[in-house]
Symmetry: C2
């Protein structure tokens, strides 16, 4: 039985979030954990010191504990207290006890003289200066008196605070954080590092979630195959342990999509499907009143739904402010358009000139983790939105790769040069040339011809096979000479897979075939980037 | 045998660092670790994808795989391919294979139609529209072609990149990071959570270092007692596993300070002792050419030497830029002075008015982790430096506690009000009043008398016992009436420990005793902070 998710009735992410939080209200979670696990988590309690610190009066030097009233003078050494030792010794007038730095003081002592300020003969020590009461002593409680606050509620716990808690003997602390359990499902999944059989793919959702969730309490995770009983059992186990369940895969409408069936049977689906790309078949539901997030299973959806919905919800459960992503304004290098019906996230590269910041949208589909993770950031667009070339828009920044950048056509000659390569074709490279961004621009004569350039060379475009034409993204020069391109490849590197199945076009070096066209490539270098091409041209 | 560290011959931290790095040059370390452990570490290699991603052409929808040339038309369903399955099926003209989202395509298929756009009768499916070649297909390699760069050298590894590595089957990655082993030594140490016997203190160095070192590779840690053979054995084990050893305790000149003996015997001490407070008895040495950092054992020294020396060295070993601490400029609320001979770090609180930022130095000694960790930051002073009241200086910021702040005398009446309490006495409170900072000021008539105030009350100062006078820090009102204060307590909360041993003075409530003086306390509230005192006055 298949339940189709009707595109038009879906909610936008914000509406979905509101609906979900009003039905499954985010419960503030306080959980006790070992202090070694509490780094960067938010304290859920005020902690008062259970002891005085130091817990006893200690010597701060290696020396002799004496009565200050007897100085200057000579003293009979009646014993020694090592660090960590407890001895019931009491000193009387003109008696001394040898003490280590950090050792407790004998009864009756009220000052310590440094060993280097004394002379000793057998068991007699000579002190020729006057000491103060309390000299070289760390008095009991002089750092932290018992019952003093050492950690405040709502404070993000630092290594220093962990050391402070340890110093007063505390090894557990309550933090504002839900316990999270993560399940990934799928018969197609293979653990990274293992052999990939045909038809299988590598698991990556757990890797993302287990590292991304590190500031919360992760109580368990598992990879479960598509058997309903197994998934049911694992969900029950998870909800016994956790405050929140995140489960990936099986949320759509396929026959083996058990996750949505199980959530419906054991609890409730509050939202099924959101107008959000990538991430449409998301489930926001609950079982036994505990929030359950069902993610479609492709890794980029997991990332986007986590960033936009789950993180927000977890922040409400953990009393932390939702950290908004860093945003900047930038101009579109080329026009970009949203999906017509869904809120759309499109990954982008950032390109800067001395005076302007541009963003270049990247051809993208939801399954493309490599594309997404190589991006500098992304743009969020409402359904049907269109940002025209040179129009400014808000960009969500992940992490800008600031290396010198090659922009334009892919060619084997430049395979090994050590720059960032954005080989999305000549169209963005022509635009970059116009606007003065990028460092090495590789432009096909099929797209535009630069007035000035550093190098040029001709390359053959070859063709092989028959049938439907395998073309390239519109941005790539070669696409101009293919009449009915059907598949739009981003790179000649994968064209070999189509040999024998279609009519394939590619530059020389990528396939063997008949000469079809001679393309001229121009190379323009900016910002002293010519050095990267040394030895090539 | 005791070797004294002569104060005058010591090097400053920067000189010591230079000397150490020139003798024990920081070796750039590249180590391979599981990707799950690589979060926030710096990639030590360029990673190229070993496979095409997707590894085979997949359907992006639940539907029927067909030949696009036959659309529109009717198709005979000849099988089904589930996600994760590999089947050798080839479709011919007008045949269809049912496929899951993510399932591989049968041979011969070049398009997939969504299930909801079809009609099915038994094993016949009807498609009434024209499809494109490649429709609803994620082609092999269309995200990441084989051999494409997916991680760059020097990149800080994010959850997204971990997911990308997993997606192409990689489960280990080389990172720029030394392997670090941490040993703490001491007979006096007890694990937090356990019972504290007399003379013992709780271990906290490991807690600090194991959380602070989290961005490097920690290969082991241990707590070892002061037995030379045990420490030797542990050091050997550590250096078999690690690139760097950090060891705390035993670096000074006491009889049981084996660490410096062992480093000297097995390797070399390059620097023994630095003009640095807290942290003087630090050792920078090497064994088998591997850097060994010996720290004095008190936790605040560990923190400061780590922050100022070790972190810098580890950053050189891991190709990361040393992150400088955040700094601000602020005016001294009261005068502050350095140690005469050593570079001195003094913890401070930050207090702000609308127009100025002030810092208040805190009475401090090296063992005071509670004091240090409650501070907003610290000031670094050259030997003998003196910053006068109102003079501006550079402050190193840790984390500013922005809660409304009570400043001044400690009193039991205000024990439970929910504000930050800096009960360092009336002197800083009078200065705060002058400069308009702080929120609730509690001022003793012994120190100054405010022109305007919100509340006032009298309290008795009591005295008990005889002998040397136990007084308070000069900043506390009561210190004005004790003629020869010897011990300088920061808080009346610990005065009870001196009962029977000295002549103790304290406000009523903290001790029993004879009336000695009637002090008047004035309470001034600023910034609408009067509400915190509701129900008290």
């Amino acid at each position: 039985m298949r339940a189709i998710l009707p595109e038009d009735n879906l909610l936008f992410a914000e509406e979905a979030f509101r609906k979900f939080t009003s039905e499954v209200s985010p419960k503030l979670c306080i959980n006790e954990i070992p202090i070694l696990d509490s780094l960067n988590k938010v304290s859920g309690e005020v902690v008062y010191s259970p002891i005085d610190l130091p817990p006893f009066s200690r010597s701060t030097v290696d020396g002799y504990a004496i009565k200050y009233e007897n100085t200057p003078g000579k003293f009979t050494i009646i014993g020694k207290i090592n660090i960590g030792e407890y001895k019931e010794i009491e000193i009387k007038e003109n008696e001394a006890v040898e003490v280590d730095t950090g050792a407790m003081l004998p009864e009756g002592a009220n000052a310590v003289i440094k060993i280097e300020d004394t002379k000793r003969e057998d068991n007699i020590v000579f002190i020729d200066k006057k000491l103060r009461f309390g000299q070289n002593i760390a008095w009991i409680g002089s750092d932290i008196p018992k019952d003093f606050e050492i950690l405040r509620k709502g404070e993000r716990i630092s290594p220093e605070k962990i050391a402070t808690l340890a110093s007063v003997g505390i090894n557990k602390v309550k933090v504002y954080s839900p316990k999270v359990y993560v399940i990934t499902t799928g018969d197609e999944l293979v653990e990274p590092g293992e052999k990939l059989d045909k038809g299988k793919i590598y698991e990556s959702n757990l890797y993302y979630l287990l590292t991304r969730l590190r500031d919360y309490i992760i109580v368990g995770s598992s990879l479960v195959r598509d058997r309903k009983e197994d998934i049911e059992k694992e969900i029950e186990k998870a909800l016994d342990l956790a405050d929140v369940l995140i489960i990936t895969g099986g949320t759509s409408a396929g026959e083996k999509d058990y996750v949505h069936q199980i959530i419906r049977e054991k609890g409730k689906i509050v939202v099924h499907g959101i107008k959000f790309k990538p991430g449409k078949p998301t489930i926001l539901g609950q079982i036994k009143g505990k929030p359950v997030f069902g993610l479609p299973g492709n890794i980029v959806s997991t990332i986007m739904v986590y960033e936009q919905l789950i993180k927000k919800y977890l922040d409400l459960m953990s009393n932390s402010e939702h950290e908004e992503n860093k945003k900047i304004r930038a101009k579109a290098l080329i026009t970009v358009e949203a999906d017509k019906k869904r809120f759309t996230y499109i990954p982008i590269y950032i390109l800067r000139s001395n005076k302007d910041t541009y963003f270049l949208p990247i051809p993208f589909d939801s399954y493309m983790i490599g594309t997404f993770s190589s991006a500098d950031g992304y743009i969020a667009l409402n359904p049907g939105d269109r940002i025209e070339e040179d129009q400014e828009a808000e960009i969500i920044i992940k992490n800008i790769d600031e290396r010198p950048t090659l922009l334009g056509e892919e060619d084997l000659k430049m395979k090994n040069i050590n720059v960032r390569k954005i080989t999305l074709g000549s169209y963005p490279a022509c635009k970059a040339l116009e606007k003065g961004v990028g460092d090495i621009l590789v432009i096909s004569s099929l797209m535009c011809t630069p007035d000035n350039y550093d190098f040029k060379f001709d390359r053959e475009i070859l063709t092989n096979g028959k049938g439907p034409e395998i073309g390239y993204n519109d941005w790539i020069g070669i696409s101009k000479i293919i009449k009915n391109p059907t598949v739009k490849l981003k790179s000649p590197s994968t064209v070999e897979h189509f040999l024998g199945k279609a009519k394939v076009y590619a530059p020389e070096g990528y396939i063997k075939g008949d000469k079809f066209y001679t393309e001229r490539l121009y190379i323009v270098t900016l910002n002293n980037s010519r050095k990267f091409l040394q030895g090539i041209f």
